[in-house]
Symmetry: C2
Subunit: 460 residues, 2 copies
C-alpha cells in the first residue's frame, strides 16, 4: 500500500531536491505562511512552504512548480500591506527568510545581500564602515531586502534620498523557468542592453524571484536637526510642505493629522499636542552650519503658512523622539481595530486637496481615517479603521478605500506610492493605467512567465 501523498502532486519529489528541512507541508507549519500583514480574509491555503536555503533551492522549487503548473507565491518577511505575499490555494509559498547573508565592500561602497536579510540589518552592517543604506520603509526593522526590492519600497528618507530602485545596482533573479540570471553588477552606471534590472525592481514577484541584491551605499549622513510644527488647519500644514520643497531639500518631511496624533497619544503618550489639526516633522541633514540655515528656511515656511507653534532642535535624541512619534503612528492606528492601509501619492501641490477629500470621505462613510504622510513626496497613508468582525463596518471601510483610490486618480496621482498593487488594489489598477498600458504590462508578464505561475492574482 503506497503512502498517501500529502498536500498535492508529488510534493515529496520536491523535498528531495531541496536543502534538508526546507520543505514544510504539514498544515500546522504552513498555516503561518498563509497571511502577510494585510491579513486578507480570503487568504488561500498553500500546498507547501519552501524555506529556501540557497538560490539552488529557489531554482529547484520554480522548476518543480513549472513542471506541475503550481503557483508560486514569493515571500520575504511577509510584511506586505497590499496582500503581495498572501497565499493562494494550492500554491507553494517560497520564503527567502533563511537567506540572510550580507557582505559590505567599503571600497566600492556596495553591499551584497541575500533577499531574506532585513533592511535594518543592512543598515547595521554598513554603519561600522561609515556607510549608509538610505531606504527606510516603516517596516525597515522587520522587512526583508527581497521584499523591499520586489515592491520598490520607499519610506521617510525618499524625499531627499529616493526609493529602493535608486540603490539597486545588481540582481540575481530566478526566472519562471528556473534559470538564474544576473542583471547589472557593481558599477553605478550601466546601460548595456535593455534596462531589465529596473524592470524587476517593483515587479512584486510576478516576473522572477530575487536571490541576491547588490546595493549601492552612501557615506553616512551628517547628524540631523529636527523641526516640529503644529498647525490648527491641516491644509495650512500641507501648504507649508509645498513651500518647503520649493526652497530646500529636507531629509525628512512627514505629516500627521489630528486623528494620527490622537492615536499615538492614546497608544503611547508622548506629549504631542492633541489640540492641533496637524503636525509636521521635518529634518535637515545638511552638513555643518547649512543645517541651521535649512531649518530656518523651513521654520519660515511653517510660520508663513500659519503654524500655531514651531520648534527646532539640534539634539539628535530630542529629534529622534519626534521621529519615533511619527513611526508610532502605524502601530498606534493598528491598535484601534482592523485597518485597511492606503498608500496613495499625489503631485505635491494637490496635497491640500487630497487631505480635504479624505476628510470628507471619512465623514461620508462614517469611518475613522487617520492620515499620516510622507508629505514631501505627496505620499499619503490614510488608515481606514474598522471593528474586527463588524461586517457592515468592513463594508463601509472598503467603500472608503475605493473612494480614496479615486481621489488619487482625480488628483493626477497614483493608487500606490510604495506598498505596491498586490491583491488589494488590482481592481483599481485599470482605472489608473488604462487599457493600453494594462495590455502592455500583460505582454511583458506573459513574455517572462508564460505559464502564469509567479504570484498569480497580484497586479491583475
Amino acid at each position: 500500500m503506497s503512502s498517501p501523498v500529502t498536500g498535492g502532486p508529488g510534493i515529496e519529489s520536491l523535498g528531495t531536491m531541496l536543502t534538508a528541512g526546507a520543505l514544510l507541508s504539514d498544515p500546522a507549519s504552513t498555516e503561518a505562511y498563509r497571511h502577510d500583514w494585510t491579513r486578507l480574509p480570503d487568504a488561500g491555503t498553500p500546498l507547501a512552504v519552501v524555506r529556501a536555503g540557497s538560490a539552488a533551492d529557489v531554482q529547484a522549487t520554480i522548476r518543480w512548480a513549472a513542471e506541475h503548473r503550481v503557483p508560486v507565491v514569493p515571500r520575504g518577511a511577509g510584511t506586505s500591506l497590499a496582500g503581495g505575499a498572501t497565499a493562494v490555494d494550492g500554491c507553494l509559498v517560497l520564503s527567502t527568510e533563511r537567506m540572510t547573508g550580507i557582505e559590505i565592500d567599503p571600497t566600492t561602497r556596495t553591499a551584497v545581500v541575500e533577499p531574506g536579510a532585513f533592511n535594518a540589518a543592512v543598515k547595521d552592517a554598513a554603519a561600522p564602515h561609515g556607510l549608509w543604506y538610505p531606504p527606510d520603509p516603516g517596516s525597515f526593522r522587520i522587512s526583508s531586502i527581497g521584499g523591499n526590492v520586489a515592491t520598490d519600497a520607499g519610506g521617510i528618507c525618499c524625499v531627499k534620498y529616493g526609493v529602493t530602485s535608486d540603490y539597486v545596482l545588481g540582481l540575481d533573479v530566478v526566472l519562471a523557468d528556473g534559470r538564474l540570471v544576473t542583471l547589472g553588477g557593481r558599477t553605478v552606471k550601466d546601460v548595456a542592453g535593455l534596462p531589465l534590472l529596473k524592470l524587476f525592481v517593483g515587479s512584486e514577484g510576478t516576473l522572477g524571484v530575487i536571490t541576491r541584491v547588490v546595493l549601492r551605499l552612501l557615506p553616512s549622513p551628517s547628524p540631523a536637526a529636527t523641526l516640529v510644527a503644529y498647525f490648527d488647519d491641516l491644509r495650512d500644514a500641507a501648504w507649508a510642505v509645498v513651500a518647503m520643497g520649493a526652497r530646500v531639500r529636507p531629509a525628512m518631511l512627514e505629516l500627521m493629522d489630528a486623528a494620527s496624533i490622537g492615536a499615538v497619544e492614546d497608544f503611547q503618550p508622548m506629549g504631542l499636542d492633541r489640540e492641533a489639526g496637524a503636525l509636521l516633522v521635518a529634518q535637515s541633514d545638511a552638513p555643518g552650519a547649512a543645517r541651521t540655515d535649512e531649518i530656518t528656511v523651513m521654520a519660515g515656511c511653517c510660520e508663513e503658512a500659519g503654524a500655531r507653534s514651531v520648534f527646532a532642535t539640534d539634539d539628535p535624541a530630542e529629534g529622534d523622539m519626534f521621529l519615533e512619534a511619527r513611526r508610532a503612528a502605524g502601530p498606534a492606528i493598528d491598535a484601534r481595530g482592523s485597518v485597511l492601509a492606503e498608500d496613495i501619492c499625489v503631485p505635491v501641490d494637490r496635497l491640500p486637496t487630497a487631505m480635504e477629500r479624505i476628510g470628507a470621505i471619512a465623514r461620508e462613510h462614517q469611518v475613522e481615517i487617520p492620515v499620516f504622510a510622507h508629505a514631501g513626496d505627496g505620499n499619503l497613508h490614510p488608515a481606514i479603521v474598522h471593528v474586527p468582525g463588524d461586517q457592515e463596518g468592513r463594508r463601509r471601510a472598503e467603500a472608503a478605500f475605493a473612494a480614496i483610490l479615486q481621489v488619487a486618480l482625480d488628483c493626477g496621482g497614483t493608487i500606490t506610492g510604495e506598498h505596491g498593487v498586490g491583491r488589494t488594489k488590482r481592481s483599481a489598477l485599470p482605472a489608473q493605467l488604462g487599457p493600453d498600458v494594462m495590455e502592455l504590462g500583460q505582454r511583458v508578464r506573459n513574455a517572462l512567465d508564460p505559464l502564469g505561475i509567479l504570484n498569480p492574482g497580484v497586479l491583475w
Copy 2:
C-alpha cells in the same frame, strides 16, 4: 502614365497623413540624417525622413511603417556616440527635432518636455524658478531630452546626482503598433503596475518612440568650490578617487590623463600642466561652510595619494575654467583625427587596473588613446584616435576598441556606462550579458515590437 514613386513603397501616402513639411524624401535632404556623431562608415540610406511636429505625426509614421514593414530609426539631435541614430537602408528616420516645447511647473518642481528640446534648454528654463535639471552629458548643449532618455544619459553630475532615469517621472511613448501610452506622471513615487516607465528609459529606441517627458527638478545647488590636483602617476590619481568617494560626496570627480591634458593644450592652451601624469578636477556644492570642509577632505585624499600639486578655489569663474578644460577634452581629441569613443564603466576600485590596462593596449596596438573619465563613477572614456582614411590604422583602432571592452568585462564592469550599446558595441553585448539575459531581453523586445521595426540593428 502614373508618376514614379520616389523612395519606395508609396511614401507619398505617409506624407498626406503628416503635418505639412514633415516628410523629406529627396536624397539631398535625407543625406543629413544618415549619420549620427559616430559617423559609421556603413551608415545606410533612408527611404525618407519624418520631422515630426507632434505625437500624432509620430503615431502616423509608426503605423505606416508597421503596415509597410519599414524600419524606423528614431532620432533626437543625432549626437549618439554608439551609432544609436544611424540610418539603415530603406528606413524612415523619425526625427523629433521640431518638438521642442518645455513647460516648467515650479510648484511640483517638474518640467514637461517634448523630446526634441535640448538638455541645456531644460536647464535654462528651470533656472529662473530656482530649479535645476541635473543630468549633464558632455553633449548637453546640443543633445535632446528624447535622446537623453532613450540612452539614460549620464554626465559629470552623476557621481552625486545620478543619471537621467533618476529624473524621469513620466513618459508618453508611441508603441510599435502606433498606440500612444502614458507611463508614470507627476508624482515622485509610483509603483502601480510593472515598472514599464523604467523599461523605456535606456531602451535606445527599440521599444517605442518618446513623445513627451515629465522630468523631476531639484532646487538649484549651492555654488561649487573646485579642487584641482596634478599627479605624476595616473594610478595615484585613481587611488585618490577611491579614497574621496568613501569619505564625501563630491558634486563632480573628473580625471584626465596626460594624453588628454596634452590634447586640450594643443587644441586650446589653457595653462594645464603638460608634465603631469594625470589631472583630477573635483567640486563640492555642499552648502555653506561644509563646502570648505569637503574640499579639505578631498585635498587630503589627493595629498595622501601623492599628488604633485593641489589647488582649491571658491571662485566659481576660476572653477569653471577647469571644468571647461575637462569639457574641452572631447572636442580636443576629436580634432586629432577620427575617434572611436569608448565608454566603459568599472567598479571604482578597479579604476587603477583599468587605466593601466588601457595604457598597455595603446602601446600594444600602437594607437593614441587619451582617457578622460567620470572617475567618481568608474566611467572611463578612452578615445581611440586614428587617421581618417588610414585603413590599417582603423583596423588597429578597432582591435584596441575590442580589447578595451574586454578590460571592462575582466574588471566586472560594463561595456557602456552612459552612451548605450547602439550599433558599435552589439557584438560585445553577449559576452557581458550571457545567453540567458540576451534571450530575456529578446523576449521583452519581441513582446513589444513583434515586427522588429524599431531601430533594428541596435542592441542586437
